[in-house]
Amino acid sequence: MPIIEVKNLTKRYEYYKKAPGLLASVKSLFHREKLFIEAVKNISFSIEEGELVGFLGPNGAGKTTTLKMLSGILYPTSGDARVLGYKPWERKKQYQKQFSIVMGQKNQLWWDLPAMDSFILNKEIYEVPDKQFHATVDELSALLEIKDILDVQVRKLSLGQRMKCELIAALLHSPKVLFLDEPTIGLDVVSQQKMREFIKTYNTQKKTTILLTSHYMEDVEALCKRVIIIDHGEIRYDGALSDLMDTYVDHKVLTITFTAPVEKKDLEKYGEVHEYAPLRVVLHTTKDEVKKSAAAILTKLPVDDILIDEVPVEDVIRKIFTKEAPRE
């Protein structure tokens, strides 16, 4: 049975429109235009226990709204969802003790107190036994290499250190389901790498079901075998990341450098020229033709170096977002 089951979930927000300026502000005291937006439109998907799924979409696609409905923060307009058998928005204590959410742009730690104080508060709220609490804090702080900053005021920590503390706070009660909303946002490359390694290790060891949203393709590629792509509130793709490439990509990328200048017209018979300079070119060639084209280029042209690569995942995602790619 799936751990997360979503059926025809919809969320509609109401908001007011107001023109800029003082006169418009005065007018809005008496009359305002009320508008509606469907942030999530009739989406359905299910996730099995232990899966680590990437939830991708451009800004405003509906990712965070979906996560917030699954964590019980928001009530849906219509539809149904079950996480661990519970309706999240009923906010049952038994459900809340089994899941956790980390939002990269929001803190749950007390700003003016050391992180350990927030951990102890969470320990009491989630009724974590003392022994388990200390073991978990020791284990996670060692994995994330932040043992020495747990007694420092949160506001004095760097963003990377704060995010690591947020992660520990969220995992103290060993949740079965973890929602990560852009956990690596704003982090430097080293911190991002460490976060990814930690999440992957945690998922493997604890079999925690994780739903991750991120704008960084490195997060998705490093962590997720399966992705759900959402755009304008609708699911555009749900399946394996590798299948995404097979479905939407029919070519490979050849990057070639030459020892002598080569004319553009001499390259066009081998594929589509995307970048051209006399000594360097980037060609797109169909998957069927790539070996033949590469062999011909190596034989007939003054090649210094040749690299055959996959289309970057972000280019594929970008095509889906900008509707250049056909729907699955």
Partner: protein
């Protein structure tokens, strides 16, 4: 208490307010012996109880409740709603003002001083007076959480808190100075008389058991209604992107 200067200056300012209020009563009674049957001792007692109820609210729930519009506006209720603890409980008791709890000792001092000015014949109603003070704070809490819950519709409701404080301010005077209609309102819809005047009357041996019983029923009803209203309001929470 991490910000020590803020803690100390806060205490100094609060003491200043108390002294100014007591001085005002003293000056008023230089010109009269009683106000609608309330003597100087009675007024000090009323003032002490008003301060005690206010400080009890400020120490326990006021600082936290004031934050509700901010939670709605900035979407910071998210983590509160995901925790396995009643969100109304967290929102109400999230911040404890230790300085105001210390001020409670000063308020109890004023009550003790007032009782020492003139002797009061011992009465059974005196025993329930501390419970009535707490009951007054409970009614105040129910009213303020209901008001602050309007933030889920209107977002910025700072003026409502000022309105609540303004209304509570009226209760430091004997409500007998107002007409019957106002008195009726302060016993029912806006039960200020039950919050402040009744505990003072209980200490002075002037309160009826019927009214005392009625005040506990009122606080139970207010708590129930405010709870239902909060639960209805929080469904409207739409977070922030």
């Amino acid at each position: 208490m991490l910000f020590r200067a803020n803690f100390v200056t806060g205490m100094i300012i609060q003491f200043g307010w108390i002294c100014a209020y007591l001085l005002l009563i003293h000056i008023l009674f230089l010109h009269t012996n009683n106000i609608v049957g309330w003597s100087k001792r009675d007024m000090f007692l009323l003032g002490g109880i008003w301060l005690a109820v206010s400080d009890l609210l400020e120490a326990t729930v006021a600082t936290a409740l004031l934050k509700i519009p901010e939670y709605v506006r900035y979407g910071t209720l998210d983590h509160i709603l995901t925790r396995p603890v009643d969100s109304q409980f967290i929102i109400s008791f999230w911040r404890f003002d230790f300085m105001r709890s210390l001020m409670l000792l000063a308020d109890l001092g004023i009550i003790a001083y007032a009782l020492s000015i003139e002797s009061v014949s011992l009465n059974l109603t005196m025993v329930v007076a501390p419970l009535l003070i707490i009951n007054g704070a409970v009614i105040g809490y129910a009213m303020s959480i209901a008001l602050q819950s309007l933030a889920f519709w209107f977002v910025k409701v700072d003026n409502l808190w000022a309105l609540f404080n303004g209304i509570l301010d009226v209760a430091k005077y004997p409500l007998d100075i107002f007409g019957k209609v106002v008195k009726l309102i302060t016993l029912t819809a806006v039960p200020l008389a039950l919050m402040i005047m009744l505990p003072a009357q209980a200490l002075l041996g002037r309160a009826s058991w019927l009214l005392i019983g009625y005040s506990f029923c009122v606080s139970a009803v207010f708590l129930f209604l405010s709870r239902r209203f909060y639960q209805f309001a929080v469904r409207r929470y739409s977070s922030v992107a």
